[in-house]
């Protein structure tokens, strides 16, 4: 039921962010050596790595659930989501994001910085892009001499992604 709402939310965000509102503060973090950015407004907290309870029969990138002060929240592994090699040794923390009412934890290698990126410094993402599909990016931000891949986190986590995966598995079964 809720799943039908989430895409519409993310569409709205995507539509507005595509135009002009990409400028703002981003939390940056590392995944397999690349630096990514996440709109700071969507981040509710950063917590240390902890034991994750695995959920059987879910897509590989769903790492499971944790207890966040009495709430059970799902954890998504961004490396796996983006089809990057697994390297558990590198992962250090979980970024908890809140999209509409739903909280989700993202396993990342390392949190790096909070940077302000001006619209002028953001370019639309090219079709090819370091293993992440370009439609999952808001754009590519430049801060100083470095480049950060700005994630469209709504789209990354959107139910559509999960539905398509579970549809695939349902067909396989």
């Amino acid at each position: 039921m809720t799943t039908s709402e989430i895409p519409s939310v993310s569409n709205a965000t995507a539509a507005s962010s595509g135009a002009s509102s990409r400028a703002g503060k981003y939390l940056t973090f590392f995944l397999a050596g690349e630096e990514y950015g996440l709109e700071i407004m969507k981040v509710s907290e950063i917590i240390g790595m902890q034991t994750i309870t695995r959920i059987p029969r879910t897509p590989d990138f769903v790492r499971g659930v944790i207890n966040l002060r009495g709430r059970v929240i799902p954890i998504t592994d961004l490396r796996r989501k983006f089809g990057m090699p697994n390297d558990h040794a590198a992962e250090s923390c979980i970024i908890v994001v809140q999209i509409s009412d739903v909280q989700t934890g993202l396993v990342v290698d390392r949190v790096s910085d909070v940077v302000a990126v001006a619209e002028a410094d953001i370019e639309d993402s090219p079709a090819f892009c370091s293993g992440v599909r370009s439609d999952l990016l808001l754009g590519i931000g430049k801060a100083g001499d470095k480049v950060k891949l700005l994630l469209n986190i709504d789209k990354v986590l959107s139910a559509g992604e999960l539905v398509s995966v579970s549809e695939a598995s349902a067909q396989a079964a």
Binding site: P56, T58, V65, N67
Partner: protein, 652 residues
């Protein structure tokens, strides 16, 4: 008015202890000023002077036994009150015919007083009842005394002389009890309870006067009861007002209306948050109590304190859980109406009996549960019960019976709907299902399997089902609705004799009694209500049946073995049933044996959703936070079994 003033002081005194020096001083000052104003005269004054002396001793801690002195002060005040009331009683306390509200009365104030007074009355009623069981219950006596006194004081202030006068008499009766002149029992208790009723009627009369008439009605037998109170003599064993017993105090409806004031509405999301936080508190407490510094007994003092805090936390948890439950009564009453309407529409004669409507259930479940239940009851009348003529030809009584029963069973609320109608016919369901293509044959199908077909979506169009069995209209919807709240429904039926629908609902959505089991490195919670038993099988019990997979034979029952570790892809778990444990779980009548490594213990868990973004999860109904702060998944038995059994019955 001197009288209420002394009374007020007496009441205040009741609430004071010998070390409340400041307040005692205030009492003394009040008495002194009473004497100065000469409001008390004669005998009353001399009692008051003695009281002031005694109080002075208590305050300056000169008295050798302060507690006794304080009691003596109370006695003096009492005597003073009686003395002054004796003087006062020479004059009429109120004008003989005060049948309208006082002229300058403030409606808002009166209303407030009525509401407050009725609350006092409700409180005193229960206090009186407990007093009857335990005549020495001083606290109960004080409660009633205070109630009468407050009503008296306020009604006098508001010009409601009749209520004031009556409350005064009732208060006198109780003060005689308090002075141990006689004990609270028999006719005295009768009289006290009747007085409460009378006061209630007096207050309600005020309400009526405010709302409609403006005329203050005098309740029936006001005068008789007043006289009975005045002249009460405990040695006369017979209750002097036999005729009063005939007066049924019939203000029940109004009574319950006013007692609504004693409840407040709380938004359920706040309640849910409270429950969540209390759940967290319980876990935090468990973690503290499990800390290694307590385990080795190094800190006996701290251990004791932590255990004490733990008790309080658990009590808090129980209390907060109970805040979400309500009785099924309202739901059942709604159903009685449904039965009446449906039966008159369909020309059936039905006797509807309910049992256990006091059973409580989670508030959130009530609404979700009501619709399926209405559906089932309507079905029972419409399709289950035959017409009176049909029943007669079958040798049944013309009137059909529908029985609705609720009770608690192992952490569940069970609601059974039984009728003596035409029942379900296995044969016809099977024929229909084969014609439908739902099944190829009913070989190997138990009755419960067959009746289960009636729940299949699309199986039942009204026409077909009425034709076949008289049941099944929308049963798939009923079942789906119940399952969303963690409920189960099962049918038991004999053709021609009737049907029994059994609905099992969790007592609350918030807590599940669970059994924690280990599979490899993973832990899962099994709902305790669905566990039959667990055992370690020996080789002779296990076999493999073609087409049905691995089974275990236990006490004559053949059950499929569900290897949880394979289903959930858990590495390093016990693979050989002979080395692990089989836990028999039941889903309706169907049983399965789940293979686990070991049982870790029984535990109450707070069930939480796993988060919407994960969508529908196969085999799990939610997550629970365990004592170590980690999450364990709660197994959904029905789904797990369904995962294990590929849809064999479906004709391809």
């Amino acid at each position: 008015m001197s009288l209420p003033a002394i009374d007020d002081i007496a009441i205040l005194l009741l609430q004071l202890e010998i070390d409340d020096v400041d307040d005692l001083a205030k009492v003394r000052n009040a008495l002194v000023s009473l004497l100065k104003e000469k409001s008390a005269t004669g005998a009353a004054a001399s009692h008051l002077i003695r009281a002031v002396e005694l109080l002075g001793n208590v305050i300056s801690t000169k008295s050798e036994n302060a507690t006794d002195d304080l009691v003596a002060v109370g006695v003096c005040l009492e005597l003073a009150m009686n003395a002054s009331s004796d003087e006062a009683s020479d004059q009429p306390l109120f004008a003989a015919s005060l049948d309208s509200l006082p002229e300058d009365s403030d409606a808002a104030l009166l209303r407030e007083f009525v509401g407050e007074g009725l609350e006092y009355i409700v409180a005193s009623e229960s206090a009186l009842l407990s007093l009857e069981n335990n005549p020495d219950d001083r606290e109960a006596l004080d409660t009633v005394f205070r109630a009468f006194h407050t009503v008296k004081g306020t009604s006098a202030f508001l010009g409601l002389s009749r209520a004031a006068a009556f409350a005064h008499e009732a208060e006198s009766l109780l003060s005689r009890v308090r002075d141990k002149e006689f004990s609270y029992s028999g006719s005295c208790a009768e009289l006290a309870l009747r007085s409460i009723d009378m006061l209630r009627e007096l207050l309600q009369a005020v309400e009526v006067a405010l709302d409609e008439s403006g005329v203050l009605a005098v309740p029936a037998q006001y005068d008789e009861l007043t006289r009975a109170l005045k002249s009460f003599d405990p040695s006369v064993d017979v209750f002097p007002i036999q005729s009063l017993a005939l007066v049924s105090p019939e203000p029940k409806a109004a009574h319950s209306d006013s007692s609504i004031d004693a409840t407040i509405r709380v938004r359920t999301d706040r309640l849910d948050r409270l429950l969540n936080i209390v759940g967290e508190l319980v876990i935090a407490q468990t973690i503290i109590a499990g800390d290694s510094c307590f385990v080795h007994g190094q800190q006996p003092e701290l251990t004791r304190k932590v255990a004490h805090a733990g008790k309080i936390v658990r009590e808090l948890q129980e209390l907060s859980m109970s805040m979400r439950t309500v009785p099924l009564r309202a739901t059942f009453q709604k159903l009685a109406r449904v039965v009446r309407d449906t039966s008159s529409k369909t020309g059936k004669s039905v006797n509807f009996v309910t049992d256990g409507d006091e059973v409580e259930i989670d508030r959130n479940l009530v609404d979700l549960f009501a619709d399926p239940l209405i559906h089932m009851v309507r079905n029972a009348v419409d399709h289950g019960i035959e017409s009176p003529i049909d029943r007669e030809t079958q040798g049944k009584p013309r009137t059909g019976q529908i029985h609705l029963t609720a009770y608690h069973s192992s952490g569940n609320v069970v609601v059974e709907l039984t009728d003596d109608g035409r029942g379900l016919s296995r044969e016809k369901i099977v024929l229909r299902a084969i014609a439908n293509g739902t099944i190829a044959s009913d070989a190997n199908m138990s009755d419960s399997d067959v009746f289960d077909l009636a729940f299949a979506p699309g199986f039942s169009t009204a026409e077909v089902v009425t034709d076949i069995s008289g049941r099944g209209v929308g049963l798939d919807v009923v079942r789906r609705n119940l399952e969303t709240v963690g409920g189960r429904i099962d049918i038991n039926s004999t053709a021609g004799k009737g049907s029994k629908f059994t609905v099992r609902l969790p007592f609350t959505l918030a807590v599940t009694d669970g059994m924690l089991v280990r599979v490899g490195a993973e832990r899962y919670v099994l709902p305790l209500a669905q566990i039959q038993m667990s055992f370690r099988p020996d080789a002779s019990m296990l076999s493999t049946i073609a087409g049905r997979g691995e089974v275990v034979l236990q006490r004559g029952t053949i059950m499929p073995v569900v290897r949880l570790h394979r289903l959930f892809n858990v590495p390093d778990a016990v693979d050989n049933p002979l080395e692990g444990l089989l836990v028999i779980v039941n889903d309706g009548d169907r049983r399965s044996a789940l293979l686990v490594d070991e049982l870790l213990g029984q535990q109450q868990v707070v069930a939480k959703r796993l988060g919407n973004s994960l969508g529908q999860l196969d085999g799990f109904s939610g997550g629970a936070i365990l004592g170590d702060g980690r999450v364990a998944l709660i197994l959904d038995v029905r789904e797990t079994i369904a995962l294990n059994t590929p849809p064999l019955r479906l004709a391809s």
